[in-house]
Symmetry: D3
Subunit: 288 residues, 6 copies
Amino acid sequence: MFYHDGKLQYEVKVDKPNPQFAKMLQQAIGGIEGEMKVCLQYLFQAWNCRGPAKYRDMLLDTGTEEMAHIEMLATAVALNLEGASNELKDDIAAGSPFMEQVMGGANPRHILSSGMGAMAVDASGVPFNGSWVIGTGNIAADMYANVTAESAGRTLAARLWKATDDRGMKDMLSFLLARDTMHQNQWLAVLEELGGLEGNHPIPNTFPQADENKNFNYNFISTKIDSESKAKGRWSEGKSVDGKGEFTFDKAKPFGKEPNLGAPDPAGFAQKEQMSGGLKSKVKKIID
Amino acid sequence: MFYHDGKLQYEVKVDKPNPQFAKMLQQAIGGIEGEMKVCLQYLFQAWNCRGPAKYRDMLLDTGTEEMAHIEMLATAVALNLEGASNELKDDIAAGSPFMEQVMGGANPRHILSSGMGAMAVDASGVPFNGSWVIGTGNIAADMYANVTAESAGRTLAARLWKATDDRGMKDMLSFLLARDTMHQNQWLAVLEELGGLEGNHPIPNTFPQADENKNFNYNFISTKIDSESKAKGRWSEGKSVDGKGEFTFDKAKPFGKEPNLGAPDPAGFAQKEQMSGGLKSKVKKIID
Amino acid sequence: MFYHDGKLQYEVKVDKPNPQFAKMLQQAIGGIEGEMKVCLQYLFQAWNCRGPAKYRDMLLDTGTEEMAHIEMLATAVALNLEGASNELKDDIAAGSPFMEQVMGGANPRHILSSGMGAMAVDASGVPFNGSWVIGTGNIAADMYANVTAESAGRTLAARLWKATDDRGMKDMLSFLLARDTMHQNQWLAVLEELGGLEGNHPIPNTFPQADENKNFNYNFISTKIDSESKAKGRWSEGKSVDGKGEFTFDKAKPFGKEPNLGAPDPAGFAQKEQMSGGLKSKVKKIID
Amino acid sequence: MFYHDGKLQYEVKVDKPNPQFAKMLQQAIGGIEGEMKVCLQYLFQAWNCRGPAKYRDMLLDTGTEEMAHIEMLATAVALNLEGASNELKDDIAAGSPFMEQVMGGANPRHILSSGMGAMAVDASGVPFNGSWVIGTGNIAADMYANVTAESAGRTLAARLWKATDDRGMKDMLSFLLARDTMHQNQWLAVLEELGGLEGNHPIPNTFPQADENKNFNYNFISTKIDSESKAKGRWSEGKSVDGKGEFTFDKAKPFGKEPNLGAPDPAGFAQKEQMSGGLKSKVKKIID
Amino acid sequence: MFYHDGKLQYEVKVDKPNPQFAKMLQQAIGGIEGEMKVCLQYLFQAWNCRGPAKYRDMLLDTGTEEMAHIEMLATAVALNLEGASNELKDDIAAGSPFMEQVMGGANPRHILSSGMGAMAVDASGVPFNGSWVIGTGNIAADMYANVTAESAGRTLAARLWKATDDRGMKDMLSFLLARDTMHQNQWLAVLEELGGLEGNHPIPNTFPQADENKNFNYNFISTKIDSESKAKGRWSEGKSVDGKGEFTFDKAKPFGKEPNLGAPDPAGFAQKEQMSGGLKSKVKKIID
Amino acid sequence: MFYHDGKLQYEVKVDKPNPQFAKMLQQAIGGIEGEMKVCLQYLFQAWNCRGPAKYRDMLLDTGTEEMAHIEMLATAVALNLEGASNELKDDIAAGSPFMEQVMGGANPRHILSSGMGAMAVDASGVPFNGSWVIGTGNIAADMYANVTAESAGRTLAARLWKATDDRGMKDMLSFLLARDTMHQNQWLAVLEELGGLEGNHPIPNTFPQADENKNFNYNFISTKIDSESKAKGRWSEGKSVDGKGEFTFDKAKPFGKEPNLGAPDPAGFAQKEQMSGGLKSKVKKIID
């Protein structure tokens, strides 16, 4: 169950409102690297959590914190959109500074649809999509999904920080950058606690490696033709990272044949010309 | 540039066609854990690759291999859908075993839309979505996205392997499981080569930590009230995983105030009752 | 800012696990009538709220409560999916009762993607979509969106209640039905407080009716030809519901002409045959 | 069955073509507040209509009228995009006024994809989505969905009206604003005819309130901690709006316990570390 | 402008209601091969039509007819869903024949969301998507899009016809099949009228072929390695179909080099290891 | 199986980097007219190909070539985004030329999400959607889908060619335009080989025309009222294009009646007022 206190986790100030920056901030709300995604991802992982109870608690703790980050960013969007409202716009129509911004690089739906508020969309105006909420039921796979989210998220926050010279916005982003640093460390700490590279991999570690094809599980396969691949490195020779095999470097070659599908099923209504001899007459019988 | 030889990377046989398993296999083609995603993800990362050339080559090598995996799975779907075509269905209409399957757990679009072929959709019939193709321009963030994809992918393959007792399908999946093992190791090997946990984190390592808020970058924040959080572990005390800080365990508290947005902009056409005193009269002037 | 206590708002028990009912419950989580939508809708409305502070508080109160409803339903999904786990499935492959359910009416992604947990999708497996989160910046429009959500939501809950005879599930749903009753009343109470039908309508009440075309603002227009429309009722005569006009019943007729677009712009590369005489020669000059 | 006469319901003139305004108008065509949505929503409600025949007729009447509104807006988009075609653009390449607009705030797909015509997308270029078409089978729930659509729709139209000073466009919008006024009244009139607040609520009125949990159906639940919620109003005391209960104001508290899911099912391939003692050995047996 | 008469274009009878067939029929309503797509596609093409007026009229004629086809199919869905309503379901809960169907192969949202009515979704429950509505502004390209739609549409109708033995449904489908035959012919007739293969191609015929690279415009390029491609046919030698070139058969080979992107821009926050020597020091300056 | 050589099929040079043109090029990558669509469409058609083997080979040949086109365009996007990186941007924040572009007409996600690389999205930033990948299992229907794709594709390429005066970009586009010319011809050549208009139509040619309603299969139906339709042409009289009928011109009229759905099923929880007399009492019994 959840509660709120109505206050912001960290101060949100906008010195110089900027509808175009509001559009960019939406990526951190409703984008695939954004806070809605991590909030829901950690909460769904918590709600579906099977195994030691501390992980459920930890996921709830952080998922709930992320909700406060959406709140901060939504507030930042609203404040950036207030830029044009200091004076009454008698001449808001085309030609006014405000509408120029809306019609230029800003998101027109920030006025048309939300009346100067944040929306559940990304910086292109594409809606948040539930498919981004990853919870596999395998805790190690989930932790990597979480590290990924915080890595892309901190990269996004850094780019936003660089894109503005508004002191309030830079201060807010320096807080969010710090939280992303912590959360990268946090999910990595779980992976360490669960056994690190050798203990966790290959994920899922409950699938017996005896049942995977052992001729292909530590081979780097190069599909390059005509010239030598430059793709040599840690992954092409030596002990595998999970400690369970030896890397090799192989040239790609087919172990299967050209596939040969059967004739079209008459119920699928392919063209006559696709039918092989035998079936053609049967089809003829049906269609006559 | 790309080439093909028309053969399968590994043999694809179906002993006992099963339209319901065909539906499940679609998750490995067009699902968020599927081969379309990893194929396009590695190729886009290659095409956008800036930095040492060997990473571009490696990404092209593996992205191109994944194309062959889509090919194998698409063939497997087509063969599983041929189950009902061994005999001419004079009575294909409702009531026949084939249509019962299509109408039951199978995907009706496998007959209605594709005429018994694979589609670019997942196991629920939801289309592949380009938003899943992650390429951030930051190679460490991308490698985590790739480990994540291969972890969820191998988990999916294991579940599919468990869900069938068809020998041909189990053999194909044991090959794909092996490739997922390799690819988890491969992307982890890049991360090791790039400096491991301390060298890479916090990602992006080009953003100066001096510019993030140092009061909040290694603190686990618990939002739990009423009772003690069980969320204690590697992440709540001791040296941080990236070696650059000390973990602490803090109770959540607000550092910001209740946000206070300005009055609605008249151009946004809020209700009169939302307007504050001052603006109300201005609005009145407009609407009169 | 937000907090949690890890407990459920109301008890969630499943007497007889049922993966097919788990699939149906997803509609109440990630569907357009579901709890993710209302939770995010109320919170975004709160964060964007301009006007009297009590409405922000109320929206935060209820948005936060809805988060607890997602938690309850996610728990219910997970418990319904545990149905097959009472005994170890040595024979989980095709043919076992469990897999038959998964392959029949259940959602295969509940095993393939989430490992028996809830997902951010609806009963068809279609992901939650951020476009459903309505916050217009106009509080009356928003209240109607909220009444709508709770009306469709309570209808959904009633249908789910009817579809199960599991006592635990019926009990949980009777709680959610009660909350939907309250929330319908709550948003209607705001509308009453804001002035009721005459005070609020036409929404937005800040747009001057003098500027709308007064020949068409209280006319029911019937597009029916050949026979008399049966569409007579409260809306076709008498005082309008907002008290500002008189309803009339009119037959549809065009007040505009056939539209006449200009010739295609050469930069649009229409076919030659679409070009009118004058432009054709100009195009010719370009393409020669 | 449907017919057309090729004329516009109301005149559409554009005095000063403006590709950026064309982009904004798309919100009224393919956006969630737009005419495609209401057109299809009313028609699907009509086609699924069970109950008194007059409602089917009314929905068909208005759904068909909305088709004419899409037609008007599509014409307006096409005319706004013709702005640059008054003279032959020898220099249409980068640097020309037209391409500057396309590359600036206009929708590039208005030239690239549609060749200067309207599309089934919103102002951000996001495609119309069928999930927005609401028809619940419950006429009262549907009427609220319709009032909501017309409220958001009229708010959108007002914002568009404010955003342009083109006389033709303002005239067209003043017509559409008038129709939205009528349609708000129309759906409210149906609700009045069906019994008003007391007769309709709680929706659905066929679900017996005896079966909802009577301890929670008229309680405002505040999730606010630390300070007093300001959320007091018509909804927190007094008779409920539906006349069937008394509002109370309660502080949130959990009535359920911490949820406790079972151990992971081995077929789900969680990590070993998630398994509880008992199951672990069973898993071991499987994977050895 | 549009009108209706409330009658069906052709009779819709269901002898034996079948919720599973209702699910399949949804493909013909909201699927990519369905009637919503063609209806909106023809209407948008009409509204955007520039060039001879008869094409606008024709597109309006047929787009309006397609609206009547959605109406027929929506009616068919509703009637197929009434199957279980002949008797009052005292025992509608799990276990009853009706709910078994809903929970098996039927679409659960047909009861949960629409209360036994049609929805704007396809046979998998995926919502209609506005991106499918093709109108390019080039009439020949549009006619091919229309032939495509009617070809996939008639194939779908044939498969539905085969999948049912309900006499009423077969009769309705034989009408829709006939209309698809006409519409295939109709769009082909326009292409003939516009100049046939030689007159229309390459589309757009207003782009001067002098400006396309003449070394590559009639060459079949085979990317097959290792063995001879079997892809020989009408397209690999002889006069081209558009009469403007000679087909050749070429082996693929690259005419470009390996691409070489510049170093990462510091503002993009790649990892340090991606930076080349020169930039690294600059970055260092920034981050120190 | 697939291979690569790391080189570009044709040279990609950008003389004057332009982030806004990069945004437009995305339409040719991830748009519905773009190369991802045709690449995947041809490959899925190949993998599902039943019938003469040469068509499978041809589809693989061309599908694999299209992959090289995505590669070229992705490279072009990356190079166009490097425009601002020639000098170190000390002042990248708001006000700098680069950020102005990003915040103006460019796609902000090209910096925020991809760090100056291509993405799997269209020119509006809308993600690629797997529903666009058409493979019906009927080869003639598929060939029309392919001609359509290449017609819209070449039109798009022409518009992009016109929109830039960068010599490198124009050269690359002149190559792609040439390939589109070939591919239009190629798919038309297959249709000719398969029997041309009379041999292929109506598609599918395996559905017996005896089973379609012969009263409606060659009739142009005009839905226009009030005035004469101008829609007279090749399609309204004379022999049909498929040679199997005679065109007629008919005025639309209904052959069906007003539909009459049954009363609402009580399990659907419609409102009481929708129930007919008989059922009302039954409902009453349930709800009392």
